[in-house]
Structures are given as structure tokens and as C-alpha cells.
């Protein structure tokens, strides 16, 4: 069980206004904008933590006072996510009510999947490529995998 001190607030993310006060037609138009806003904010927040985009030896490094009293040269790197199911769907730019671990179809979520017959995992590089292609075929492929357009966060 992680401690309370393991959670550090680094930023407050803007959230959209409550959906119940918005007409359904307007809400459908707002949803892609909200997703894009979330994606842009995440990209900006996580940019300093991505090692690939800052490969030089000095960028992002700073001195950290450790528990033993010594200073060490450190660089924080994004290693993993820890979130609930709705947040995962938002982070991975997925549709709601789908598995964020694998590409299991919605109509097979209730079936037992043995370990040797698991569905393929999400491939973020593939989605980024399909998103950048901006063709109807690529969009249809993204839709069939329950992924929204505009995936750029990772």
C-alpha cells in the first residue's frame, strides 16, 4: 500500500464544466475539443519527464538532497502510470468502457481469457502513425480499435 507521502501534487489540470448543463448536441461537439485540450496539457506537463526528447547529458538534471544527507545528480523520468479506469481511458485516448490494457473487443469483455490467449496490447506507436496519416482508412482503423483521433500524448 503506497503511503500518503508518495503522492505529490505537481499541477492542477483544468477540467471541463459539468456536462449535465450542456445540451447533447453541443456536448458532442465539445468532447473532441476537451480530449484535445487534455492531450495538449499532458504533452506539455510530461515533456520534461520524457527521456527520449531530452537525450543530452545535462538537460533536465539537477541536484537532489537525499535522505542520507548527500546530494545526487538526478533526472526524473516518466516510468509508469497509476490511475483509475476512467483516467486511463482519458490518458490513452480510448473510448469509454473498453479495456485499457489490451485490444479486447467490447462484446468479449465478459468472457474468460486464458493467459495464453490474451488479446494484443495497445500499441501507441501504431496509433500515433495512424493519427498522423490522416486518411479515411487510418481513421477507420483507429475507430475499429476504439481509439479516438488526435493521439499525441506519448
Amino acid at each position: 500500500m503506497p503511503l500518503t507521502h508518495s503522492v505529490v501534487m505537481v499541477a492542477l489540470r483544468p477540467i471541463p464544466v459539468r456536462n449535465r448543463n450542456i445540451p447533447p448536441k453541443q456536448l458532442d461537439g465539445l468532447r473532441p475539443t476537451n480530449r484535445k485540450g487534455l492531450n495538449d496539457v499532458l504533452q506539455r506537463v510530461l515533456h520534461p519527464l520524457t527521456f527520449v526528447q531530452n537525450p543530452s547529458a545535462e538537460s533536465g538534471y539537477y541536484n537532489v538532497l537525499c535522505a542520507d544527507g548527500n546530494f545526487r545528480r538526478c533526472k526524473p523520468v516518466l516510468a509508469a502510470w497509476l490511475a483509475d479506469c476512467p483516467e486511463y481511458s482519458g490518458l490513452h485516448h480510448l473510448e469509454r468502457h473498453v479495456c485499457f490494457w489490451c485490444e479486447c473487443p467490447k462484446y468479449e469483455l465478459g468472457d474468460h481469457v486464458p493467459p495464453d490467449k490474451q488479446h494484443p496490447w495497445w500499441d501507441h506507436n501504431l496509433y500515433r502513425t495512424l493519427n498522423n496519416a490522416k486518411t479515411k482508412v487510418a481513421d477507420a482503423e483507429l475507430l475499429s480499435r476504439h481509439v479516438h483521433r488526435g493521439f499525441t500524448a506519448f
Partner: protein
């Protein structure tokens, strides 16, 4: 439960669950609880299967297969939950997790009827309307030929047929296609890759959503630039907390290096920990001491109050004798303690003690030993727990390893002046002793050690 008319029985058994050890007493029936928190879920997992099994006992032979499948399904799910809460795993536990999940999926169809969504229910209602119309047509067509008894039989047959068809329709359209049930199939894989699941619990993060922004907002000046203030406030609080923890760790290290042995009044020693790990100091339940070192006002009692709380005459004599011997042993001039001095002595009576012990998985868990003396606990009977006491010094062999279960009778704290005129606190306990039968060897039939 409602379908098989077991809901009242279930609620009655649920409400009668005793508040054993750290279980919370039930104030509401199962139906009245609208939201479960994490602690309640953990507690519920310990007795849910027993409650369900007892509630579903009996019934007609036609109900037995359904009820048994429901019990099996819950059993498998609870087993999976228990395995998932392990803090360390090996191939055997992961294999068992897989097996229990497979069993759950095998038996989960018994709950399929209650997974029907809006569409399935609408479809079932349409089917019901259609079948009712057919029944009316059938009734009107044969109104002249049917006798009253035959009509009654036909109507009963129609009723059973409609009910059956609606259930079948609902079951065909219902499913378990929601992410949570699918994610369970990834847990074993997740444990293989990243370790036990407990370290990835999102409870703390979700709790932080509740407190962090609100505290920061309340501490800010509520102006337009409140966002940096919220972040700075939380960072400052965290820095103070981390520094406090570091100082506590340093102080604890110093205490451990100068640890001293405590002596109990009866001359026995507390059972040492089984492993080399040091245990946390026991926490006595009740108000803390005041800053001036005196007992808290609410708990100040005298010796007579202690005796009033002890109904047994033998226990009173033991308290007199044991406390007097202890005071004499601890006082620097070894003077005799008179009855007047003993009666005027200030003490605190405690009704429980919280101890950190090692769980099955090696984790540290808190256990509560209750000792209410002759007083009742929460309006019920008196509650005096049994504790393990090492009655023989040194390393012992045998089934009990030199320990015996003694029942606590009184738990109180006194303060004495030492040679430096400083107050020193001592916790004293009166316990009912036991004697092992058959020289402490295992009983051949029950394979337990019996004591009396």
C-alpha cells in the same frame, strides 16, 4: 436473495455478525448501505461467504443447483480477491488465482439474469405483452370448452410459460461485458511483470483528490493567482511532514539503541517477537497523557475504582498483593506500602491495547486486545481477551514454545517517582493463568494442546 425469498434471513445474519477483534459492529442492514468504503469491503470479505452460505441453506430440490452455483461463484470470487491481496506471490499462488478466476467465470452465469440492461428489459417487456395477448386469444377461443378447473390449470401453465420465456429472453440479452470483469484476467500478468498489486493501490491518490485542492484553496487568498498558491502550500506541507518523519526515525533509532527491559508485576516477561524484527511499541487505547506528564483527567482513577471494577474476591486479593509487591520492588528505599498509600495512588484503567503484530504474509497489522474487566462492552457481555505469555525464560521447545494463553482481567497504568524525582510510567496487567495438560504435548485426537 430477493428472488428466492432469502433477503430477510440474509439481513438478519448480516446484522448479527459479532464485532470480533477489529471488525466494526453492524449498525445497518446490508440493503441500507448505499456506498462501501475500502475498509468495509476488506472486512466484508472475511465473513461474506459464511453469511451467504447460511442464508442460502435449505430450500426446495429445484432451488439447490442454483443456490449452490451462487455459493460457488461467490466463493471463487472471494478466493481470487484474497489471493490478489497477497503482498508476495509465487507460481503456486498465481496458478491458484488463475484457477479461481476460471471457476468464477464457470459459475457466473447464475447471476446473468440480474445483468439485464435497459434494452434487454425493454425487449423482455415487449415479449411479455405479446405473450399476454396470445394467452387472451387462447382464453377467448376456448372459453366455452374449458371447465373452470381446466381454465385454472391452463392459466397457471401460461403464467409459468411467460415467466420462463421472459427469463430466457433476459438471459440471452444480458452479458458481463464491462471492463472491471475483464481486467481481472490481466492481474496475473500484471503481477508477473510489476509485482504484487497492493503497491499499486489507487486509494491514496483518490483520497488526495479530496483533501489536497480543498486545503490549498482554503489556505490561498482566493484571488486569480490561487493556483500557484495551492501547489506551493501542498509542497510546504509535504516538506514539513517528510522532515517530521525523518526526525522521528532518528529518535526511534536512538531509542532502539538504548532499549531497556520491562518487568511485569507477576515476575513474568513479555513473550519476545518470533523474528528478529523489532515490533512497534504497543498503543494503549484511551486519551493520551497531558503535556505536564500527568494522567489525563478523564482517565484518572484511584485504587478503589480498580477494585470496584473487579468483582471476583480472589482477583482483588491478587491486585492488592501484586501491586504492593511491584511498588516495593520498584521503589528505591524498598519500604512497605500501606493500604492508605495504595488507596490514594493515582492510576489509569484501560479497556484495550493496540499491538502491531506480524501477519501471515509478514506484513505489520494492528490487533486489538480488549480487557473490560467486569464491565460490559457496548452493552453486551464483558470482553477480556486471551494473550500469549511466556512463562518460562530462555529458549523452550514443545508445541507451545514456552508460552501459555492467559486471559486479561485488568489493564491499568501507574506513575512512580524514580531516584531522579522524575515520573516513570508502568503498565500493569492482571491475567488469569492457565496450566497445560498432558505436559504441553499435542492431544492425539484433536492435535491441539489443551490447557485448563
Amino acid at each position: 436473495m430477493k428472488t428466492h425469498k432469502r433477503l430477510d434471513k440474509y439481513n438478519a445474519i448480516w446484522s448479527s455478525m459479532p464485532a470480533y477483534q477489529d471488525l466494526t459492529p453492524k449498525t445497518k442492514s446490508y440493503e441500507d448501505v448505499s456506498q462501501w468504503n475500502g475498509k468495509e469491503m476488506k472486512e466484508m470479505s472475511r465473513y461474506l461467504l459464511g453469511v451467504v452460505t447460511q442464508s442460502l441453506r435449505g430450500g426446495s430440490p429445484a432451488q439447490h443447483p442454483i443456490l449452490n452455483r451462487a455459493i460457488e461463484c461467490r466463493w471463487a470470487l472471494l478466493q481470487f480477491y484474497m489471493y490478489a491481496r497477497y503482498i508476495s506471490h509465487d507460481d503456486a499462488t498465481l496458478s491458484n488465482m488463475e484457477d479461481t478466476l476460471c471457476r468464477f467465470h464457470t459459475f457466473k452465469d447464475v447471476f446473468l439474469l440480474w445483468r439485464a440492461g435497459k434494452e434487454a428489459k425493454a425487449k423482455a417487456n415487449a415479449l411479455r405483452t405479446e405473450l399476454v395477448k396470445k394467452r387472451q386469444v387462447d382464453e377467448e377461443t376456448n372459453a366455452e370448452t374449458w371447465t373452470p378447473s381446466k381454465k385454472q390449470r391452463k392459466m397457471n401453465a401460461w403464467r409459468d410459460y411467460i415467466s420462463h420465456e421472459i427469463d430466457v429472453s433476459k438471459e440471452l440479452d444480458a452479458d458481463f461485458n464491462f471492463p472491471k470483469i475483464h481486467l481481472m484476467s490481466h492481474w496475473v500478468e500484471h503481477i508477473h511483470q510489476y509485482g504484487a498489486l497492493q503497491q499499486y493501490s489507487a486509494e491514496r491518490h483518490e483520497k488526495a483528490h479530496k483533501t489536497n485542492p480543498k486545503d490549498g484553496w482554503n489556505a490561498s487568498n482566493h484571488n486569480l493567482n490561487y493556483l500557484p498558491q495551492v501547489i506551493t502550500f501542498q509542497r510546504r506541507i509535504l516538506c514539513f511532514e517528510i522532515r517530521e518523519l525523518n526526525l522521528q526515525a532518528l529518535a526511534q533509532r536512538r531509542e532502539n539503541s538504548a532499549a531497556t527491559c520491562k518487568v511485569l508485576p507477576s515476575g513474568t516477561d513479555l513473550a519476545p517477537p518470533l523474528s528478529s524484527k523489532s515490533y512497534a511499541k504497543p498503543e494503549f487505547m484511551g486519551p493520551q497523557n497531558r503535556r505536564d506528564g500527568k494522567h489525563p483527567d478523564a482517565m484518572i482513577k484511584d485504587f478503589r475504582a480498580l477494585l470496584d471494577n473487579t468483582q471476583d474476591a480472589m482477583h482483588r486479593v491478587t491486585i492488592y498483593k501484586g501491586t504492593r509487591e511491584f511498588l516495593r520492588h520498584k521503589s528505591h528505599n524498598k519500604m512497605y506500602i500501606s493500604d492508605e498509600q495504595l488507596h490514594a495512588m493515582e492510576l489509569c484503567i484501560y479497556h484495550g491495547i493496540k499491538i502491531q503484530v506480524e501477519g501471515i504474509e509478514g506484513e505489520h497489522i494492528s490487533q486489538i486486545c480488549r480487557c473490560t474487566g467486569s464491565q460490559s462492552w457496548r452493552g453486551g457481555n464483558q470482553w477480556n481477551d486471551l494473550v500469549w505469555v511466556k512463562h518460562r525464560p530462555g529458549r523452550c521447545y514443545g508445541a507451545l514454545n514456552g508460552r501459555l494463553p492467559w486471559q486479561l482481567q485488568q489493564l491499568f497504568k501507574i506513575q512512580l517517582l524514580n531516584e531522579d524525582a522524575a515520573f516513570v510510567e508502568y503498565w500493569l496487567a492482571l491475567a488469569l493463568t492457565t496450566i497445560p495438560e498432558n505436559s504441553g504435548n499435542l492431544d492425539p485426537v484433536s492435535t491441539f494442546v489443551q490447557v485448563r
